[in-house]
Amino acid sequence: MAMIKSIIIQNLSKTYPGVKALDGLSCEINSGEIFGFIGPDGAGKTTLFRILTSLLIPDEGTATVDGDDVVKDYKSIRAKVGYMPGKFSLYQDLTVEENLKFFAGVFKTTIAENYHLIESIYKQIEPFKNRLAGKLSGGMKQKLALSCALIHKPVVLFLDEPTTGVDAVSRKEFWEMLHQLKSTGLTIVVSTPYMDEAALCDRVALLQNGKILSIASPQEVVAQFPHKLYGIKAKKLYALNELLKQENQVHSTYLFGDNIHLVLQQNASIEQLMGNIKERNFDDVQWEIISPGIEDCFMELMREA
């Protein structure tokens, strides 16, 4: 089935003094999907979002959003995208309701007209509608910002790092809201430095130093991991990881919570290595073959790059 393309990005580059923020980036985003740009700070996520929302002009390359060119057609783009920047950007000295009214007014609509789009999110903060936005908690600010980004019925919603610095519970709730929004047919483009959130997207682009390392569904990214991965457990995990780093049969060894993720060099034998390890004061060591996660893939791709 041919997918309708909501966003087409071709060869985008952007350089700031001394830094290549985007380096020939190309990618297509389907209509109605949740697409995630996953990468650390400095990968180029915010630069890309600012170009796609027409707030920044690229040095090279082109991009269209819903058929409109991000440079030439900036006026129509601004009317049909919703953008929630990483930094809270609403008016702190206006109330919750005043902020929402303001954004509706700017886009020549009213709260009443599009209330159905924001209802499930806005009703959670509606009891505080007379409170100044600057006095809201982090979670409430986020819900208000999302409401303001949706009130003009955008066809594409851009969310730049909505969950950074947010605790695990609030992150989970935020993603539940996004999945609800997706069911209305909205295209959602989201960025995050948390690798585990990749699994919540339909497709992801792994981004590092302005380049895409991989672009696929989270399942495909994981399926493309080129090695057999072992999960290693032992009581003295940090010391064991330091020891494994020195072994020349080891391709990579990383701590992953309560175990080590280990990849061996070709032709190396796990039985032999573990036998060796046991004799060196790690007699409780246990190992098994495990499935890689997005973070394993990201690190492998970083090593290859």
């Binding site: 650390p40 982090g138 605790d167 519970v169 992953f256 919570g257 990201f298 970083m302």
Partner: protein, 245 residues
């Protein structure tokens, strides 16, 4: 085991709001102590008190053996601090930052010189020798910030979300530095939103609504809550929270 931090009945109120609601815990020397909690649970308030920057409403608290009411200057000399939001001065170079912090903590010129060379070498900073800190990649900046935070060999170092936004390989290198520092006997008090990092701590505490609702090793907490990850422990506890920031 020697204690680095002792907290008895710590209460901190802002008006009628109870930010810290009778906290009791100890942190041991050389321990990596994870300080977790939902946004608004009261972590920042407690850290400020432990760093001598804010006075508790009541309770008996000592840090590195010093009293948080009367000996805040001694506390500041004996702790290190870094956070994601503030660590180094962006518009100074690497060497200027090291010099500045060395000076603040009263290191001799010779010691500052030795430390500077040591960090340039260990963190492979030569290509950035003349750069301002604002031009450093985040990962390198955070590793340098940590080195600077422990430059004066504090008894305790407080790390407030030190790896937020850092790439996964650098994040692990950062934790290697934390482990190496703890093995030297420095106590590490760390907050994070990465639940895998919670597993690297010797013990973790989880704050909910100003209270400390859990405190144990990651393994014991998982067994107690009958789940296979700290993330699940965290979610079970933090779901009970009735307040946010």
């Amino acid at each position: 085991m020697k204690t680095a931090v002792t907290v008895k009945n710590l209460v901190k109120k802002f008006g009628s709001f109870v930010a810290n609601d009778n906290l009791n815990f100890e942190v041991y020397q050389g321990e990596i102590f994870g300080f977790l909690g939902a946004n608004g649970a009261g972590k920042t308030t407690a850290i400020k008190i432990l760093c001598g920057l804010s006075k508790p409403t009541s309770g008996e608290i000592t840090v590195a053996g010093f009293d948080v009411y009367k000996q805040t200057e001694e506390i500041k000399k004996n702790i290190g601090y870094m956070s994601q939001k503030f660590s180094l001065y962006d518009d100074l170079t690497i060497q200027e930052n090291i010099r500045f912090y060395g000076g603040i903590y009263g290191l001799s010129n010779a010691a500052i010189k030795t430390k500077t060379n040591q960090y340039m070498e260990a963190l492979d900073l030569h290509e950035y020798a003349k750069s301002r800190v604002s031009d450093l990649p985040l990962g390198i900046k955070q590793k340098l910030a940590f080195s600077v935070a422990v430059m004066h060999e504090p008894k305790i170092v407080f790390l407030d979300e030190p790896t937020s936004g850092v790439d996964p390989i650098t994040r692990r290198q950062f934790w290697d530095m934390i482990n190496a520092e703890a093995e030297k006997g420095t106590t590490v008090f760390v907050t994070t939103h990465y639940m895998d990092e919670a597993e690297y701590c010797h013990r973790i505490s989880i704050m909910v609504d100003g209270r400390m609702d859990a405190l144990d090793s990651p393994l014991n907490l998982k067994q107690q809550f009958k789940v296979d990850s700290i993330e699940k422990v965290f979610i079970q506890l933090a779901r009970k929270a009735t307040r946010s920031e």
